[in-house]
């Protein structure tokens, strides 16, 4: 009994020693030199591997930071705290992370949008309405009011108001972007939270058509584009704010006849 125990221990110990030696040798030969900062930064990150930074995961993001390809504040989940810690480690200044908020770029609720002659009977969901007949509004670009974004929001940060247009409760919203994906008409867009004005319309039709379907549509008159020195571009008959070039003082909010281009609140 005693001898077999002894032999067993010796055998396993010997085997373990041989393998350990082999691995140590292999480690010498195959070691990949890595920037030790990568590991340290990786520890600071949330480790959710969510991909919100646009990289393949936290480790990849950390690698990109050390190579100077990503900014220290690139992790929206970690927020300011993480950004400052990483910036300290990298020895760079960090500007605070910009919170992104979804904006619903349609104001054509029950009161404004013109209804079709026919009525829509079917599942009350934007995706169904969009596929079948485009809902009961005449506008082919606007909000369907089917609450797909309300249902998609994991934080209950979207409510449907009485006018049939969803509203975002900014205090609860985390900026995850689920609502953007849920909207079949691409009305919801993510914007930095300090962006104050938008063109609240997606209707690209000519002035007469867009006027006929909704009281608050962008007619495509182009007055905002002419007055703002390139602050607004015309995409067909739809004004699109060029957020890189605009000068807010030059944008003629009062000249817009339908109020499609407007400040929030």
């Amino acid at each position: 009994m005693d001898t077999s125990l002894f032999i067993a221990i010796a055998t396993m110990g010997g085997l373990g020693f041989i393998f350990a030696g082999g691995l140590a040798l292999a480690d010498k030969k195959l070691r990949v030199e890595e920037n030790p900062l990568i590991g340290k930064i990786n520890e600071l990150l949330p480790g959710a591997n969510c991909g919100a930074c646009g990289k393949a995961g936290c480790y990849d993001f950390a690698t990109n930071i050390t190579e100077g390809k990503s900014a220290a504040n690139g992790c929206p989940v970690g927020g300011d705290e993480t950004a400052i810690e990483i910036a300290e480690m990298m020895g760079v200044e960090s500007s605070s992370t910009q919170k992104m908020l979804p904006r619903i770029l349609c104001k054509g609720g029950h009161a404004e949008a013109v209804k079709k002659m026919t009525e829509y009977y079917g599942p009350i969901s934007c995706s169904s309405m969009h596929i079948v007949s485009g809902g009961d509004k005449k506008c082919f670009y606007g909000c369907l009011g089917g609450s797909d974004c309300v249902n998609a929001c994991p934080f209950n940060a979207i409510i449907m108001n009485d006018n049939g247009i969803p509203e975002i409760i900014e205090e609860i919203c985390t900026g995850c972007g689920m609502c953007v994906k849920s909207c079949p008409r691409n009305i919801i867009e993510m914007h930095p939270s300090d962006r104050q004005f938008f063109v609240f319309c997606k209707n690209e039709d000519d002035p007469k058509t867009s006027k006929d379907v909704c009281a608050v549509s962008c007619l495509g008159c182009g007055i905002c584009a002419r007055k703002s020195d390139g602050g607004v571009d015309m995409h067909g008959f739809l004004g699109v704010v060029n957020y890189e070039k605009f000068d807010e003082s030059k944008i003629p909010f009062d000249k817009c006849r339908t109020g499609a281009i407007a400040k929030i609140n």
Partner: protein, 190 residues
């Protein structure tokens, strides 16, 4: 002829994944892209072949002479764990993208039951050294075949119109089940 039979038996008729249901974890986990699935198959095959060689040597040259057969589990796990460590280092050195694509499933080859299963089958069936090596190659080939077929189907599934309730894991498990049924058609051929 005997060797050819062993190879095809391990690779197709008694496929480790689809007949014995060993190694399901990477089979489901890494089979969403054909290229990384094939690499996973290759890594597993490498570990299987070396495991077959080393564990045969350890069993017949060390454990049997010293009457230590009861240590086979521990010894085999030791072999497998060291080999996987080695493969991990090797892949990290050779291909960083592959290292990241395989992710957690690479170190998890250690606990892949297909490999421990292989080592234990060798002992159970009393294979000779050459037979063991062929058996390891066959088992690896079978694993690669299964995971590659699965990955090919899953790449097509990405484009298919799947009911919402079945999207993701459920349809993958359904496909795995049908694949296993299809491989049952081979049983009794050898």
């Amino acid at each position: 002829m005997e060797l050819v039979l062993i190879f095809f038996s391990a690779a197709i008729v008694n496929n480790f994944v689809l007949s014995y249901f060993l190694g399901i974890c990477p089979f489901i986990g890494v089979s969403n892209k054909l290229s990384s699935a094939f690499s996973m198959g290759m890594a597993t095959t490498f570990v299987m072949v070396i495991t077959a060689i080393v564990s045969w040597l350890i069993y017949h040259l060390i454990l049997v002479p010293f009457d230590l057969e009861f240590l086979q589990y521990v010894a085999f796990i030791l072999v497998i764990a060291s080999l996987v460590q080695f493969v991990e280092m090797f892949i990290k050195k050779v291909s960083q993208p592959l290292y990241r694509a395989l992710g957690i499933f690479l170190p998890l080859i250690t606990t892949n039951c297909a490999i421990l299963g292989l080592a234990l089958f060798l002992v159970l069936r009393d294979y000779s050294f050459v037979e063991s090596v062929i058996y390891g190659v066959g088992a690896g080939a079978g694993f690669t075949l299964a995971i590659s077929i699965m990955a090919g189907i899953r790449e097509e599934l990405d484009l298919a119109d799947i009911p919402k309730a079945f999207q993701g894991a459920p349809i993958t498990l359904v496909v795995a089940g049908i694949l296993a049924l299809a491989f049952m058609g081979f049983s009794g051929m050898l």
